[in-house]
């Protein structure tokens, strides 16, 4: 058991190094001169000053040293928790910009992912049990999982926000509040803003889990061991429980795998609702060529996904002990 996790951790460590390296490399290949853009945005109109400021900021951001040195500096800074300074929210440190946005995204993502997983798997397992439910729940699930995230978000914003006017369509909380605070007024207001973006993420993800579980359970019920057990006269409930347990395996690894997609979904959903999370930030970072910020966001998401993957591994092993044997076993 210990050996299995040590190996896993090693793999994730290597993954992290490669991810950081790619993280470092990709943004630097982006077109354009970010500092020129920052200066242009701030309307530094007089040309003599612009040239001087350009040199100054190049120096400040460390863009004027060789690439390999930038890379070493990047690692060095990373270990001190220093992700650099954001260009677009200059002079805020990247970490503080990301941390400001993170709660909003987590607040959307965690409930949407976990609830859709539980509810979806429940629905799927039930649907696999009866023809009638299968015929009603399944088409709805297919519809939901086929909907593009932003389209559902647009429709919800259109109906709930514009036509009915029941929900706000911008911000994480009303602009009349000076800032987040502990009061019923505020919590109700924040939930009011949170509801539609959450709902659209939840609904789209829900369909996928339900279908996955339904198909897997049916597949397991079809398998030889189920048939064998039934032939031996095992109770139907027991067979189903085994089927469900085995069907959980791909669903658990799927949970980690799905994360990247849902994060993407959250991104476009946040854009539609002008919700101030990481998604909106990614978009801002790209539009402003803020590659320090982009790196920071990528890194946060990478770490998040790694941790999530590791947790999924733990759960996977707990559910299916055979996996452990397979990894350590004599197959090689």
């Amino acid at each position: 058991m210990g050996r299995y996790f040590r190996r896993k951790l090693l793999i994730y460590g290597v993954t992290f190094v490669i991810a950081v390296t790619i993280n470092f490399a990709i943004p630097r290949m982006m077109p354009g001169d970010p500092i020129a853009r920052m200066l242009a945005q701030n309307k530094v109109s007089n040309v003599e000053s612009a040239a001087r400021m350009h040199a100054y900021y190049n120096d400040l951001f460390g863009l004027d040293v060789p690439l390999w040195q930038q890379y070493l500096n990047y690692w060095g800074a990373l270990f001190q928790g220093d992700l650099g300074v954001s260009l677009f929210a200059f002079p805020s440190p990247v970490s503080s910009v990301v941390l400001d946005a993170l709660p909003y995204t987590l607040g959307l993502l965690l409930p949407a992912i976990l609830l859709s997983w539980f509810v979806g798997n429940g629905l799927g397992a039930i649907a696999a049990r009866s023809k009638w439910l299968d015929n009603t729940a399944l088409p709805v699930s297919y519809l939901l999982t086929a909907v593009p995230y932003m389209w559902l978000a647009i429709l919800l914003a259109w109906v709930g926000g514009v036509i009915l006017g029941w929900f706000p369509v911008a911000g994480g909380y009303s602009f009349s509040f000076s800032g987040p605070q502990f009061s019923w007024n505020f919590i109700v207001d924040a939930l009011h803003h949170w509801f539609l973006p959450f709902l659209s993420l939840f609904l789209v993800a829900l369909g996928g889990w339900a279908i996955g579980m339904r198909n897997l359970v049916i597949y397991e019920l079809e398998s030889d061991y189920s048939n064998y057990m039934q032939t031996l006269g095992a109770p139907r409930r027991l067979v189903r429980r085994y089927a469900f347990r085995n069907a959980m395996l791909p669903q658990i690894s799927g949970l980690a795998l799905q994360l990247g997609v849902v994060v993407g979904g959250a991104l476009v959903t946040e854009v539609v609702f002008a919700y101030p999370g990481l998604g909106s930030l990614v978009l801002d970072a790209i539009q402003n060529q803020d590659f320090f910020l982009l790196q920071g966001i990528l890194l946060f998401i990478v770490i998040g996904v790694l941790v999530f993957n590791f947790l999924a591994d733990v759960v996977y092993v707990l559910v299916d002990p055979r996996t452990r044997l397979g990894l350590e076993g004599g197959a090689s």
């Binding site: 982006m30 077109p31 354009g32 020129a36 853009r37 920052m38 200066l39 242009a40 945005q41 701030n42 309307k43 530094v44 109109s45 007089n46 040309v47 003599e48 000053s49 612009a50 040239a51 100054y56 900021y57 400040l60 200059f90 002079p91 805020s92 503080s96 910009v97 941390l99 400001d100 993170l102 709660p103 987590l106 607040g107 959307l108 965690l110 409930p111 609830l115 509810v119 369509v169 911008a170 911000g171 909380y173 602009f175 009349s176 509040f177 000076s178 800032g179 987040p180 605070q181 009061s183 007024n185 505020f186 919590i187 924040a190 939930l191 002008a274 101030p276 801002d284 539009q287 402003n288």
Partner: protein, 571 residues
């Protein structure tokens, strides 16, 4: 499943609330107004359209700034009023050229910083001298300024190497004075790149609070102009919302959640008609005050764009009217052939315009091409260069800038109609910038020449020399005319009331019309649409209440601050 969902929801809200602990208020003097955490609607002005990122930089000395920093918080010595074209004393009570190379400014008595300290001549001297640090945006003033001397508490004297009157006026209303007693505590790095949180200000408002998508200002009780000029800003709070999508902005505006939107909102013209709840600067098209000139920039270093006649032919071929009507639904106006904004119409040289100007006339474009020797000898419907090579030009605009994409389509199609083979191509915005700055383009659109205190700004944008590897902010066409640049520099050093001033401007117009370094097409607006739901008496072009209702950087100090003193609560 109902129960856990609620629990998670509340937990999520709690996480957000916890994150709030890092947010903070500014340094002001009125504890009642500061401690408030929900703004009363009828005392609060909600604006949007100025900020593109989270408020992060309260330092007017460095490159960045938050909405309202220059104008609501920090203030300049003078305001520039684009309507009257006059400099209006602000922190300065008066100022004049006391010699060929000396200028003396006298401050108003009794101006206090928000921490109670007096604003004195020392602060002015300190602020201007900060320009000696590299990395300060106005460092170029020291190319022609020699020294700053404090004469007494309220008087400062500036001695110049070169008396650049227009550039100096520009400096006076664009540079805001900072408190020496605060900034002198900062390290050099902090002065140039620090955030200057909790700013100590002289203006009518101080920072109340901020979050990533908003900043709130609260009114100060002892603003100097209340006593000195009888000005009283009306909103107790101003909340500026960081730009979101047009869709969201329009929705908030229509529902009265935002009072003033300075966004380009397509479709607004349809809503304006017959809606008494929305105000714009003009009551009829183009509704918005012209703010900058959108121009077609040719790369004048390559064939055939290096030929002024070829560029003239292009100017005749393009129909600005079509762009105004079909791309912008009439919320912008056609540009004058000189490219100068209407605020400078008194300087328009009608003679030069009728002699060398242009208007949409495809037949004229064709004959200009013919006379200059451009022919279609291979019969493909498009002209070749004088040496017989095919002309294939690309017009680049940023992908996703839909109005510009549509405008580029219209322009390219107009040019093809007269036999100039132009194709529109949409690239990533960063790639367009880079191509434009480095001169690796054929045709681009640009609108970086906007409202300022003198046409000098426009001509510097057109003619600046020398052309460098990377051009930032000016002469993207890489047009080389020493004569035009000399005249531009001469204009910078000529006082507005000097009779030569208008003459130089006329000469420059003639050069720009004859040489056509860039082709003016339309005026982009100072986009402003205001809701009358909570605040009324918005500025309009008629009457005295005619400041631009614009919250963008640089507009507060061009008179927009007056909007706040004229607003009236509705109902």
């Amino acid at each position: 499943m109902r129960h856990p969902r609620t629990a998670v929801a509340i937990a999520a809200a709690a996480v957000m609330a916890l994150a709030a602990c890092t947010d903070d208020g500014g340094g002001g003097e009125d504890p009642d107004d500061l401690s408030i955490d929900q703004f009363p609607r009828d005392e609060t002005l909600y604006t949007t359209g100025a900020a593109w990122g989270p408020p992060a930089d309260w330092n007017p000395v460095s490159g960045g700034e938050v909405t309202g920093l220059r104008g609501l918080g920090y203030e300049p010595l003078y305001l520039f009023n684009p309507n009257t074209q006059e400099m209006e004393p602000w922190l300065a009570e008066s100022g004049e050229w006391t010699g060929d190379l000396t200028y003396q400014a006298t401050l108003r008595d009794g101006i206090t910083w928000s921490d109670g300290e007096q604003l004195t001549a020392e602060d002015v001297k300190y602020t201007v001298e900060l320009g000696q640090l590299d990395g300060v945006p106005y460092s170029n003033v020291w190319d022609w300024l020699e020294s700053v001397e404090v004469v007494d508490d309220l008087t400062v004297e500036f001695t110049f190497l070169e008396a650049r009157h227009q550039e100096w006026d520009n400096f006076l209303f664009n540079t805001t004075i900072v408190p020496e007693h605060v900034f002198s505590e900062y390290s050099e790095d902090d002065i140039v790149t620090g955030a200057n949180e909790d700013p100590v200000v002289s203006g009518p408002y101080t920072v109340h609070s901020h979050d990533q998508d908003r900043i709130a200002w609260v009114k100060r009780d002892d603003w100097w102009a209340t006593e000195a000029l009888g000005l009283e800003v009306q909103p107790t709070y101003i909340v500026d919302i960081v730009n979101t999508s047009n869709e969201v902005t329009l929705n908030m505006l229509m529902q009265g959640e935002v009072d003033l939107s300075n966004n380009f909102l397509p479709g607004i013209s349809d809503l304006l008609e017959g809606d008494p709840n929305l105000s714009t600067y003009f009551s009829e098209p183009p509704y918005m005050a012209p703010a900058n000139t959108a121009m077609l920039i040719p790369n004048t270093t390559m064939e055939p764009l290096d030929d002024a006649e070829f560029r003239r032919a292009m100017a005749f071929a393009i129909s600005p009217g079509e762009i105004v009507d079909s791309v912008y639904s009439g919320i912008v106006a056609e540009a004058n052939p000189t490219g100068l904004l209407p605020i400078w119409e008194n300087y328009y040289d009608q003679e030069a315009i009728s002699e060398s100007g242009f208007q949409f006339e495809p037949s004229e474009a064709v004959s200009v091409l013919e006379e200059a020797g451009y022919e279609d000898s291979d019969g493909d419907g498009f002209v070749e260069t004088l040496s017989g090579d095919p002309v294939e030009l690309t017009l680049n605009v940023p992908a996703g800038w839909t109005d510009w994409e549509e405008a580029a389509r219209a322009i390219a199609s107009d040019l093809r109609d007269v036999g100039i083979n132009v194709t529109e191509e949409f690239l990533d915005a960063g790639a367009v910038d880079e191509a434009r700055d480095s001169g690796e383009f054929e045709l681009v659109l640009n609108n970086q020449s906007g409202i300022t205190n003198s046409p000098w700004g426009h001509y510097r944008y057109l003619f600046q020399l020398p052309v460098q590897d990377v051009q930032t902010g000016a002469n993207f066409a890489r047009f080389e005319s020493q004569e035009a640049w000399d005249l531009t520099q001469q204009l910078a050093a000529t006082a507005t009331d000097d009779p030569e001033y208008a003459e130089i401007i006329a000469d420059l117009q003639r050069i720009s019309l004859e040489e056509m370094p860039s082709i003016p097409i339309w005026y982009n607006g100072a986009w402003a649409q205001a809701s009358n739901a909570v605040w009324t008496n918005w500025p309009t072009q008629e009457g005295d209440n005619n400041a631009y209702p614009v919250t963008w950087n640089g507009f507060w100090t061009m008179g927009s601050i007056y909007m706040l003193t004229e607003l009236e609560p509705a109902g």
